[in-house]
């Protein structure tokens, strides 16, 4: 569903991401990393709002984004929540989600129902007609999530979606994203290491623009040493991987912990983007820092 191949990305002359490769299929992928590590830049690139410097560095839904038409076709299948998103304050939640769906060219006949469904999923149904300017920070974040998951896109990219959410809302958001990840590729960046354990099949740690870890939450926890900082095994594992050398670059590691995508082609009724090579998730293992990774299932939140 998503292949990043040797991506280097930056702004003007400041490099942010260095020669990064990764491949994702359906499932939830958690992206961890300290501030300034390049998480948002990577997510912007995946969302196609920042084009890759060279063609061939990003393949979405099996297609190279080598034409305007291909990018537009890909965007129809992407839901994206930026770290800070432009919300017209006068828009109600319902109109905001509908408008974003319209921008994403969700078929007109589906927009209203899809928007209402997304709003219900983030539990903003009773605030659907409230202007965004009157929402609290957490509600605003949920409205942003609603626009990103509206019409269940094949690729959902959420940049710190849990910001401003209380613990109960975080648990519910995780449940929504888990549901989505059954058929979609959900990429979530977060600073909340524990969230990844309950949500993600696979976790990546990005540091200084390079991927330091790519594996399951259990593997991340297993990477912890006694001397690493943190209160939980996951946090210690995270700390340990920050000091690890970058993963080997080159061909993207296969989507080891992601389920094979049921849908790597266009949706029924949609044109196939041009120049596509069939892709998608492949079983296998990802390596980091020389450590071997198995395909163990991620732990799940029982709530």
């Amino acid at each position: 569903m998503l292949d990043v191949i040797g991506l280097s990305q930056g702004y003007r002359r400041r490099p942010v991401i260095h020669d990064l490769s990764i491949s994702l299929g359906a499932g939830a992928f958690g992206l961890l990393g300290p501030n300034g590590s390049g998480k948002s830049t990577l997510l912007r690139t995946l969302a196609t709002t920042t084009p890759t410097p060279r063609p061939g560095q990003l393949r979405l839904f099996g297609s190279l984004l080598d034409s305007r038409r291909a990018v537009r076709a890909a965007r129809r299948r992407i839901g994206y929540l930026p770290q800070s998103f432009a919300h017209p304050p006068g828009f109600t939640v319902r109109d905001f989600v509908r408008h974003c769906a319209w921008l994403r060219e969700v078929p007109a006949a589906r927009i209203n129902s899809a928007a209402d469904e997304a709003i219900e999923r983030v539990e903003l149904g009773d605030r659907a007609d409230t202007p965004l300017r009157k929402l609290s920070g957490g509600m605003l974040r949920r409205a942003g999530v609603a626009q990103a998951i509206c019409d269940q896109p094949d690729l959902v990219i959420l940049d710190e979606p849990a910001n401003g959410l209380d613990p109960q809302q975080r648990v519910r958001l995780r449940a929504v994203l888990r549901e989505l990840s059954a058929s979609s590729c959900v990429v979530v960046s977060t600073h909340l290491v524990e969230d990844t354990a309950h949500l993600c099949d696979r976790v990546g740690v990005l540091y200084e623009g390079r991927l330091r870890f790519d594996g399951t939450p259990e593997e991340l926890a297993a990477a912890a040493g006694d001397e690493d900082a943190g209160d939980t095994p996951l946090e210690r594992g995270y700390t340990a991987t920050l000091a690890a050398p970058p993963l080997p670059t080159g061909a993207p590691p296969p989507a080891a912990h992601h389920r094979p995508s049921p849908d790597t082609g266009p949706r029924p009724g949609e044109a196939a983007p041009g120049g596509a090579a069939p892709g998608g998730a492949a079983p296998g293992g990802a390596a980091h820092g020389g450590a071997a990774h198995g395909g163990a299932a991620a732990p799940r939140d029982a709530s």
């Binding site: 196609t48 084009p51 080598d66 006068g90 109109d95 408008h99 921008l103 994403r104 007109a108």
Partner: protein, 419 residues
């Protein structure tokens, strides 16, 4: 339509709708006399657009730059940026247009209630609407390209300077297309020019702002032709504004052809004809014709035909009486017509002869108005040496028979003048 409906519902300009209606209606009615005739009421409709052009430029600039000012990322969009920009502009322009049309409806509704003869002239509100859309498009581009907090203020001030202050006298961008006279109507050429400018402005919106959020393939910069298209459209708009005819000779108006005039006979077997839109004021004109006939009895022959300016048979361009500027002007122009009917003017007359004709006309006018107070006509004079205004004042103080004799002497003087 989904996007348009949402933008329309959520455009901040909706909060400005009522103030803008009040502003536009005030601009239309404050100059006064808009309820005198449909031509005036129609011209008031184009004037109503002026404040909307100024305010709309700033408001749309504010709204267009709001997202960028917040510095946040836009949601991912597969729809073409040009479509999104056009929909946003269309929603804003719809609110401005609604304010304009409401103000026009108020003015025209009042005109209808008065029962003015004739019908409204629809090209005037269309002209105003075109100006509103043009200003909105300019504001949209400014807001998108310069999303600073000062841009809306600068756009408003710039709009004021552009549309009202600097170019008000001769600019085709302004609403100097107000009321000129019942015999003139907005030129179709000028209307087409303005509509073309609107088309160029909207094209500039699409090309300058539409591509900014468009999907861009990996590793590619926008094509050079696409990068140049926006500035080219903006340049074409500027060239269009500059190339547009302007100034007094611009032909903003065109003379109307005579329609079916409203006519009535006078007591001395003469006739008075006015434009159909002035049919309700025909009695005033007939009354004045009768007064002139009575005032000039023995000097001016009976049965003079008076036609309002611009009507067939009114004479050369500019001849014919005027109903638009009050009773005094009606008396003056109609008296001039009476004198011209008695003593056709001669191009070879010198200052003395013109002064005699002026004196005869003034005498007739003041007698018809039953006054000896001279009208205020600014600095107009037949010339210091030839002016006979004082003589007219003295004659008006004489008994009727002596006045008539003096007027006949003036007539004889003119008849004797070589031509």
């Amino acid at each position: 339509m989904t996007g348009y409906r949402i933008e329309l519902r959520r455009s901040p300009l909706r909060w400005w709708y009522l103030p803008l209606v009040a502003l536009a209606a005030a601009m239309a009615v404050l100059p006064g006399a808009w309820q005198d005739s449909w031509p005036r009421a129609s011209a008031a409709a184009s004037a109503a657009a002026l404040p909307l052009m100024v305010a709309g430029c700033g408001l749309v600039a504010h709204r267009a730059g709001a997202a960028a000012r917040r510095g946040a990322d836009a949601p991912v969009a597969s729809r073409r940026g040009s479509t999104a920009e056009l929909v946003s502009l269309a929603a804003d322009a719809t609110w401005l247009a609604a304010a304009h049309l409401t103000a026009v409806a108020v003015v025209w509704g009042a005109a209808l209630a008065v029962g003015l003869p004739g019908a409204p002239w629809p090209e005037y509100p269309l002209f105003g609407l075109a100006g509103v859309v043009l200003a909105a498009a300019v504001g949209h581009v400014l807001g998108r390209l310069l999303p600073t907090r000062y841009t809306p203020v600068l756009a408003t001030v710039g709009g004021y300077v552009l549309f009202l202050a600097v170019m008000a006298d001769g600019s085709p961008l302004t609403a100097t297309i107000g009321y000129q006279g019942v015999e003139q109507r907005l030129s179709a050429t000028h209307l087409v020019w303005r509509l073309a400018l609107v088309a160029l402005a909207v094209t500039a919106v699409v090309l300058l702002t539409g591509g900014r959020s468009d999907a861009r393939p990996s590793g590619r910069r926008p094509a050079r032709s696409m990068r140049l298209a926006g500035p080219a459209a903006a340049a074409a708009l500027l060239v269009g504004v500059v190339a547009m005819p302007s100034g007094p000779e611009a032909g903003f108006h065109t003379a109307r052809t005579s329609a079916d005039p409203a006519c009535d006979g006078t007591v001395d077997d003469g006739e008075v004809c006015v434009w159909p839109e002035h049919a309700h004021r025909l009695p005033d004109a007939v009354d004045m014709a009768g007064r002139l006939a009575a005032a000039g009895e023995g000097v001016i022959p009976a049965g003079v035909v008076h036609r309002e300016v611009g009507l067939a048979g009114a004479g050369a361009v500019g001849q014919g009486f005027l109903l638009d500027h009050g009773r005094g002007d009606l008396a003056r122009t109609m008296a001039g017509g009476s004198v011209a009917a008695t003593l056709p003017v001669c191009d070879r007359w010198g200052p003395q002869e013109w002064a005699v004709q002026d004196a005869l006309t003034l005498w007739l006018e003041l007698r018809a108005l039953d006054t000896d107070r001279l009208p205020n006509r600014g600095s107009f004079s037949s010339g210091e040496d030839a002016d006979r205004t004082d003589e007219v004042v003295r004659v008006l103080a004489l008994p009727h028979a002596e006045q008539t004799a003096r007027a006949r002497a003036w007539t004889a003087e003119l008849e004797a003048a070589p031509c």
